[in-house]
């Protein structure tokens, strides 16, 4: 059975082309829930509600999750609560952004 860490690792290859960081290090992936049958739900957010790449990014995340061996089907749930803020990003991302 696939693990949460494997799904996070696969999603970490998805980069936001605007900011240049991957979604995991940005802190945009909140949780991954894997069911017994191999289906999983990725709960994530975006840095802004007005993101014009909303659906595209969600699609990339779905594809990345489904690449993991043992995952049958992935569902991506984009939520706005809790709202993303820069403190959720990894330390090196904050440093790179000048924070």
């Amino acid at each position: 059975m696939a693990t949460k860490e494997e799904v996070f690792e696969s999603i970490s290859h998805v980069k936001d082309p605007e900011v240049g960081f991957n979604l995991v290090e940005m802190g945009l992936i909140y949780d991954v829930d894997i069911a017994e049958n191999g289906n999983c739900v990725v709960t994530m957010t975006l840095s802004t509600k007005a993101c014009p790449m909303h659906q595209l990014i969600a699609q990339w995340v779905k594809e990345a999750a489904e690449k993991v061996e043992g995952i049958n089907e992935a569902e991506v749930n984009v939520v706005w609560e809790p709202a993303w803020n820069p403190s959720m990003a990894d330390e090196h991302v904050k440093v790179a952004m000048g924070g």
């Binding site: 998805v14 802004t48 709202a83 820069p86 990003a89």
Partner: protein, 412 residues
């Protein structure tokens, strides 16, 4: 909340607005070589021709293109008739050239040019209003779109009346209507549109979080009231009402600048780039424009009014637009050429698609050009003004080069 990508208009529909807009920018900068700043007058047909060339051909063209692209994001619904945008830009371009011809050569052309522009804008406004009918939640951005387009509609109707009077077909007081026309189109449409769009774009590109929007709400409200007051002052011929309107619009812009400062302070992306530098310069010139406007108001020296308008148009609007095009055009090209390749091969980041050197050359030349040409206006010195325009022209060439570079970008 579901902002669908399928609402986005096709690439080939939006891109012409930005290409044609940049061409108009270059042409309008070249046109200013012919200005005689020692004889500058706001009713000089050559000045009126330039203002329309710049505002319609460049500023409005880019705003319409940006609205075509961003409206689905702002309103969270698709356009009522996205195909309308295929005819809006050609009509706007042709109408603008006819109007120029009307101002400079044959006044009888003016109503025809004005009518073509009117048709183009009526199509745009029709799409906006019909699209707004599907909006479920009226937030600040939606409200600004509504207010701005009501202003635009009224502004162009007054503009057509003025064009008919200019061509000698009807007899009205053009000078009185001019103030209402300017306030409705520039204050009511362009400024309120910028206020609304910037509340989406600035936090998005700067990753700003944890701030309140109160200042911009005050700014939009006061700007709307000021436009109404100026309009009523023309209708009722009561000058005092107009002065209250002018005062409110100054307070509105100061409130807006305070909001921008808050967003800037709350941004997570503190690394400066061509976008952030362009925004800083743009808002600095807006502030300077207001200050020179106040100097004109209290000292009644005409050249300070011209300086204020020059800084608003060439400083605030041009840096606002160039900075945003360095973000929007790469996104459109990336989405068209590379989005489908994600996960299959290495794709460029948006920042890789922007030619750094050309964009900073553009920024530098335009900045120096604005400073020198402004001194030319201030001292009524044509040599100084033309020297400044030479720098602006070089800036426009680099601007065009940068946009073409982005459009033709291929992954290495």
């Amino acid at each position: 909340m579901n902002i669908s990508q399928e609402f986005a208009p096709p690439y080939k529909l939006v891109i012409p607005y930005f290409i044609v807009g940049v061409v108009f920018y270059l042409v309008s900068i070249m046109y200013t070589f012919g200005f005689d700043v020692s004889q500058l007058h706001y009713q000089d047909p050559a000045v009126l021709a330039w203002v329309h060339l710049y505002l319609l051909g460049f500023v409005m063209m880019i705003i319409f293109g940006a609205m075509a692209q961003l409206l689905p994001v702002v309103l969270e619904v698709g356009h009522f008739g996205v195909e309308f945008f295929y005819v809006i830009w050609p009509l706007l371009a042709v109408g603008t050239f006819l109007m120029m011809g009307g101002f400079v050569f044959v006044p009888a052309l003016l109503p025809y040019g004005g009518t073509v522009v009117l048709i183009s804008m009526l199509i745009f406004i029709f799409d906006i209003f019909m699209t707004l009918r599907n909006v479920k939640e009226f937030n600040l951005s939606v409200t600004t779109v509504l207010l701005a387009n009501i202003s635009l509609l009224m502004g162009i109707i007054i503009g057509i009346v003025m064009a008919l009077a200019y061509a000698g077909q009807i007899d009205v007081n053009i000078s009185a209507l001019l103030v209402a026309h300017i306030y409705l189109v520039v204050g009511g449409y362009i400024i309120i549109s910028i206020m609304g769009l910037s509340m989406i774009l600035l936090p998005m590109f700067g990753l700003s979080h944890g701030y309140v929007n109160n200042a911009v709400k005050i700014a939009v409200s006061l700007m709307s009231i000021s436009v109404i007051l100026v309009l009523f002052s023309v209708i009722l011929s009561i000058e005092l009402i107009a002065y209250i309107g002018y005062g409110l619009s100054v307070i509105a812009i100061i409130a807006y600048l305070m909001q921008i400062q808050t967003i800037y302070q709350k941004r997570a992306r503190k690394i400066q780039d061509i976008y952030s530098y362009s925004m800083i310069l743009s808002y600095t010139f807006l502030l300077l424009s207001v200050l020179f406007g106040l100097v004109f108001f209290f000292m009644d020296i005409q050249k300070f009014l011209y300086l204020s308008v020059w800084l608003l148009l060439i400083g605030f609007f041009s840096f606002m637009i160039s900075g945003h095009l360095y973000k929007i055009v790469p996104f459109l090209v990336w989405f068209e050429k590379f989005a489908d390749l994600v996960g299959k091969e290495k794709v460029p980041m948006l920042v890789d698609m922007v030619p750094d050197r050309a964009t900073y050359m553009q920024l530098g030349f335009v900045l120096i050009g604005i400073i020198i040409s402004s001194l030319g206006i201030l001292f009524s010195n044509n040599e100084l003004f033309k020297a400044g325009v030479s720098f602006l022209f070089m800036g426009a060439v680099f601007f065009m080069y940068a946009v073409i570079y982005i459009l033709k970008f291929e992954s290495k």
